[in-house]
Symmetry: C2
DNA sequence: AACGGTAACCTGACACTGTAAGGTTGTCCA
DNA sequence: TGGACAACCTTACAGTGTCAGGTTACCGTT
């Protein structure tokens, strides 16, 4: 075959197919040839649309990032804006757990910009936080979300199973254990997020009376 | 060559060499043949000491984990024990930033046991925290440490450079920027950790009067 | 209406990866 | 003295990301 009358591939199609493969079989099982096979095409053809594998994965990461909701920072409730941001951020990662290791494995120009640093920083400074503190608060939330996502979704609790078995012997079925781990993860995320937010509120109050 | 009179390789030697290579050139640049070359040996010989590459990396992860200090949980100051744990945990990861993505990218039986869940859980319950809450607190600290490590050490701030440039134009030299990012990371870690700990203290007080 | 450039597919190939199979030899214990 | 085992070796295989170069469809210009 040479050039087809109507194009077979597009960045969008490649992205969707790749993300589906990653969701189904994991990052390690992904290869350019498997993506191509899935699309009834040879691997090098993909390079007409993406310069290399990383650029493809970066693009997927960017589309995931688009689902993160920073709209709250336009309003004036900075606490709730942070809460909404953190939750939607975590949800976005939870939707594609197999992508999380990639997202976190920098070191290049990856959408650590999931952060949407500008919106967050702007909202916080408008609320009265000093610029530097605003940056630090944004980073803190990012730590909580990314840390939670990576240790939870990447199968983190698997080797803690023995611990859980001793501690909660009635949870002997692996199936229930997994459920339980997910529940603990969710609650832990809630705990650290809310505790942090209420601590910030205290510091915010101290700001005014300074 | 056949069997040498005195063994050339050992798990320890392989581990050290590999960790050095990872520190110097990163995880992506690592291959069994490069490790072997560094040791003046052929790659398959490594398999006499490690079943596969992952087992080798797991072993390295375990030695890194040994530097995490959980001794504080033997005492009765749970707050300070958590603080010490978190700091030494983060320091251990900071010492080998290129290993962080691997450590976090489980899904297998990786030393997410960096957690030292038992010591932490034991110390907190002895201090009076309910078992389930103790588990959640341990998980929370882990989120903060791992999240901080991965977004900082894996070059997380690199693509935020533009943001920093606009915001702090006098930091125009990339060199200073990098320093500044590290400083922000350190301070953010401190902020989220201390804010979380002081929030916990409030909840702890509420426990007693319940 | 013919022509050139570019886009989008192809085949083939390269260097490199992890690791399995099996050969050879030194060391140690029965 | 002999056999088991350990620790190196060479060879080889299937799979990886990606480059080079070939072919053809389309689109804009002359």
């Amino acid at each position: 075959m040479a050039r087809p009358r109507t194009p077979i591939l597009s960045r969008e199609l490649i992205r969707h197919t790749t993300l589906r493969l990653v969701d189904e079989h994991g990052l390690d099982a992904l290869s350019m040839r498997k993506i191509a096979t899935e699309l009834d095409v040879r691997a090098p053809s993909l390079y007409n649309h993406y310069a290399n594998k990383d650029e493809l994965l970066d693009d997927i990461a960017a589309t995931i990032a688009e689902n993160v909701d920073v709209s709250g920072f336009a309003g004036d409730d900075w606490q709730d804006a942070l809460r909404t941001w953190a939750h939607s951020y975590r949800d976005a990662l939870a939707e594609h757990p197999n992508m999380v290791p990639f997202l976190a494995s920098g070191p290049s120009n990856r959408p650590v910009a999931l952060v949407r640093a500008d919106a967050v920083h702007g909202g916080l400074t408008r609320a009265g936080w000093p610029p530097r503190t605003a940056t630090m608060i944004g980073a803190s939330i990012k730590y909580i979300v990314v840390g939670s996502a990576i240790t939870s979704f990447a199968g983190g609790f698997i080797d803690d199973i023995d611990t859980y078995n001793e501690r909660y012997p009635h949870l002997s079925q692996a199936h229930r254990l997994r459920e339980y781990a997910a529940e603990i993860d969710q609650d832990s995320f809630e705990l650290v997020l809310e505790t942090f937010l209420s601590g910030l509120t205290l510091q915010y109050a101290a700001l005014d009376t300074r």
